[in-house]
Symmetry: C2
Subunit: 205 residues, 2 copies
């Protein structure tokens, strides 16, 4: 096996280290975060760090990189109090990846891709039309991670829209029925197939 110790990690070129450390933690969730500024500018940005925090109340978290450059999604959700999470399917990966390009605040990523905004039930933050899972979240809180000045943002799920065929009788959503992708590193997109579901694990005698 290839071994990297602390000294070797610190001596790597920036790009090599970015690729390595971003892919070494395994597969990541793939979401488009939709938001809107108080003046009505819509924003859409790809995130690969959405994590489950709890089911009751239904809370999610995600990591924002250091505040060295403007983060429109973050500003928008703090000022309006809401945002959306939209699962990314196979047919959307090229446009989804393009939302990581740095556009000024006045430019909507919806205008630079074929992705279309969808407003539902008075929720002003835009969903992505056609996304097979759409989540309307309220902004709840954030925690500064002082070790590297990243921020854990906490959101509460207030609306869920799930394509009918993905939703099982026990509440489980079978993601591969929607061709939902996962992210490998910074720029790799993969499509999973379910192998197996297990029972709740109980100790052996």
């Amino acid at each position: 096996m290839h071994h990297f110790g602390l000294k070797k990690l610190e001596g790597l070129s920036k790009i090599f280290r970015l690729n390595l450390i971003n892919s070494v933690t395994g597969y990541k969730s793939a979401h488009l975060i939709g938001s809107v500024s108080p003046s009505g500018n819509q924003n859409l940005a790809i995130f690969s760090s959405i994590v489950h925090l709890g089911s009751n109340p239904a809370l999610i978290g995600f990591i924002l990189r250091p505040k060295t450059v403007p983060r429109h999604s973050h500003l928008n959700m703090k000022s309006t109090g809401i945002f959306t999470l939209n699962a990314i399917s196979k047919s959307q990966i090229k446009d989804a990846h393009h939302t990581s390009a740095k556009y000024p605040d006045s430019v909507s990523e919806f205008d630079k891709t074929d992705l279309e905004p969808e407003i539902k039930q008075g929720w002003k933050a835009p969903y992505v039309r056609g996304a097979k899972i759409q989540i309307g979240c309220s902004y709840v809180n954030e925690y500064l991670i002082k070790e590297n000045d990243t921020v854990l943002v906490v959101g509460k799920i207030e609306h869920l829209y799930i394509e009918d065929q993905l939703l099982g009788e026990d509440g489980w959503i079978q993601l591969d029925k929607g061709d939902i992708v996962t992210i490998n590193g910074l720029d790799g997109y993969a499509i999973p197939n379910l192998i197996r579901r297990f029972e709740y694990a109980r100790p052996k005698e």
Copy 2:
């Protein structure tokens, strides 16, 4: 599409809501966390919330559920200062899932499954033998998420072992070359295949 609003979410049965909210955030990383108590009891537990926090220094985070029951992995890493993360491959999913069963502190999951501990380079926390990515981490800090009493644990990567064939020239690790799995909800295991890598995204004219 199926719609769940806040009232409907709050009124769901516990199991339905657990399945729903745990699967709605998309694919999760799949890791076995290895740790050891000061008296030498090894512990192995599956986690699906490992998230990338930063590349330089190389930091990871993961979420621990509320402290209503003993969390051996957590106690061990706080007292010894170290733990390991081990990627889960297809052939290991049954045993990996079984580590979620609640055993007393004195019982090692290594003795209840076919998974074997591996000690390398004096790192006392056990790796999982044969795991295609093994990460030696030091415990750095933790943050209480007061909204639901979960904890974000922050770890620093000090050792990386990667099977040679997975590691590309630019540092990117192609996870599907190691049959590394991803988790769908609480109990579903899926195996991804790479579709495409993209270039760094730059604004269109």
